[in-house]
Symmetry: C2
Subunit: 358 residues, 2 copies
């Protein structure tokens, strides 16, 4: 009896297989998402993060989640990613949160801050210390979800044509350093400017500017600044630049639970992987730079210059906290977290590294 039932059932199943081209075709709807990235086509490291994310999502979903990536060359709006995802023109974005600070001031705090957390400290804050919740409190108001999108690691302080030996040397210093770090330097008498990436090399070579910061060896090598600048200063202004993935909440909510999880984990892994890749590429490219130009001098700003920059930074942040309760909430959370995390960093990685130096 059991066997007969089975035979009948199998016959019916076979008939069904003929009706449905694939038994999965109906239930397994394909979701196609469009992502706009701030970067130009095939931009290294940052562009690898989006490709890595999309490839993982497609493979894990067996093709049910397909994400196409439009670079800035296509959508022509590198800094319009926030608006394009908010309006629904794109489903997702890949960019950096601090690019929207002119529009939504509190997005500033989710990329990196001068004298702020290192990458492992900041991942601790995002994932275990309340950072994700605060970030999505800010983005939620705009119908958006935001996720960490990849870390560059510590960014270098920049290429300088002359040494900075005192605060005096910052007076009138023309430096390409956009954003909040530029505000810090302006308070100390420097003249921050912004210049299009394609014109930076010539501006530095012809001394139209005295200095510039870009990223670090991972992306500086191809820019060629090491060929024309003798001093490479260590970092202070972007200790752990985290990019971001943005998703329109309505798009997110239409995805079934398994694809939401596949997307969440693809973004999370792509972000961590970008940190590892940045570390690797920086190590490789710094070795190349040193070999080609052994006279590059690595410098750290003098203690009194660092102290003055920290003071200027603290004053600017205090102004922001006084103006906006949400800014205060985020800054307080970061400061409290960093105090604990840095105490640990100091007795672990820092003590270890210093114990090995001569």
């Amino acid at each position: 009896m059991f066997k007969l039932k089975m035979v009948k059932k199998l016959a019916a199943v076979a008939a069904c297989a003929a009706v449905l081209a694939s038994p999965l075709a109906m239930a397994e709807k394909t979701y196609r998402l469009k992502l706009a990235e701030t970067w130009p086509t095939n931009f290294p490291v940052f562009g690898d993060a989006t490709k890595n994310m999309a490839a993982m999502a497609e493979k894990m979903s067996n093709g049910r989640l397909k994400i196409t990536i439009d670079s800035a060359n296509k959508h022509k709006s590198a800094f319009g990613v926030f608006d394009m995802v908010r309006s629904g023109q794109y489903d997702m974005g890949h960019s950096a949160s601090y690019y929207w600070k002119g529009k939504v001031p509190n997005t500033l705090y989710f990329t990196t801050m001068p004298f702020g957390m290192t990458a492992p400290e900041q991942y601790g804050w995002f994932y275990y210390g309340g950072g994700m919740e605060l970030m999505n409190e800010v983005y939620g108001e705009f119908g958006l979800l935001s996720f960490p999108g990849g870390n560059t690691g510590n960014q270098m302080g920049g290429w300088f044509q002359k040494e900075i030996n005192s605060l005096e040397d910052l007076q009138g210093l023309k430096m390409r350093i956009p954003g909040f770090a530029g505000e810090v330097l302006a308070k100390l008498g420097a003249k921050p400017t912004n210049i299009a990436p394609g014109e930076l090399y010539t501006a530095l070579e012809r001394r139209t500017i005295d200095a510039l910061e870009w990223v670090g060896p991972s992306l500086d090598l191809r820019m060629g600044f090491h060929k024309i600048s003798p001093y490479y200063y260590t970092g202070w202004h972007e200790p752990a630049t985290e990019l971001q993935f943005l998703i329109n909440t309505r798009v997110w909510e239409k995805l079934p639970a398994d694809l939401q999880e596949i997307l969440r984990i693809s973004m999370r892994t792509a972000a961590y992987d970008m940190y590892t890749q940045s570390y690797h590429d920086s190590a490789e490219n710094w070795a190349t730079m040193k070999q080609e130009f052994p006279n590059i001098q690595v410098k750290t700003f003098p203690k009194d210059v660092i102290a003055a920059m920290r003071k200027a930074n603290d004053e600017l942040l205090a102004e922001k906290a006084a103006e906006d309760p949400m800014a205060k909430k985020i800054l307080d959370s970061q400061a409290a977290y960093m105090q604990k995390a840095r105490a640990w960093t100091d007795i672990s990685d820092r003590a270890y590294l210093n114990s090995l130096s001569d």
Copy 2:
């Protein structure tokens, strides 16, 4: 005509839906894998990594990949994980590669090495510097695949009842420090011992041993050593302890491509997440320890002690390289990678952290 065809097709589909309880039931076979972990039930951090991995895999696969976890309390063979996965008794394992060095000497190099790489350096080596390929060359011979399984971050040098001010102080020092690091100390006259975890507190309190190392604040807090030991030494012997996932190759090959990718990414993310969680828990627990016992003294071994330990370590590694070409291949790869990566660490995170100190 088109409409009529559609109606007929939909009717047939409806009939099929009645035949098959779920249209996915046939094609979507559920794969159940059994994982043996070295840790006891609900062990913090390490045990969270396996649970996190299994939860991601199940959710991303919509229940098609179910991984059950047996802790050491169940399988009664904490250090038999390698054998149990190799024999097929378990499909997967979660442990640390250096536990099998007595059986397969070249597994030693894939957890962490004294005076070796930090966590971001080591992830660079694994994922972008050839480390994964070397690890799977070693494990492949045994029908196993190995993946990074979570990093503790820098481990502390341990709790000491007396200060170490010179090499003299290491003579006859009774210290619980198992494995390769113990061999290094033995070369310098110390007496490394191994003692069961449950007896460590009493042994330290009664001075049966002079010192011990465990992990770091993330796992040391619950052991209570800070209540009975005045000196907490900074790390040298395990700068970035990476756990591992093991999978039997035959099991892996039976999984469809999408589930292989889901499993690979679940392990990768769980590993990265464990590094972040370890960082977070260390920061929190170190703050707690300092508050409860403000007199804990953090110490770094003197320069000449560090130099002697490095020399002993280098000599032991040179012996291993001379005995075994594969050991030499792995050690050469690590040394070359670390040279580049450390040069980058020194001008990035280390310079940044040092520039902020008084």
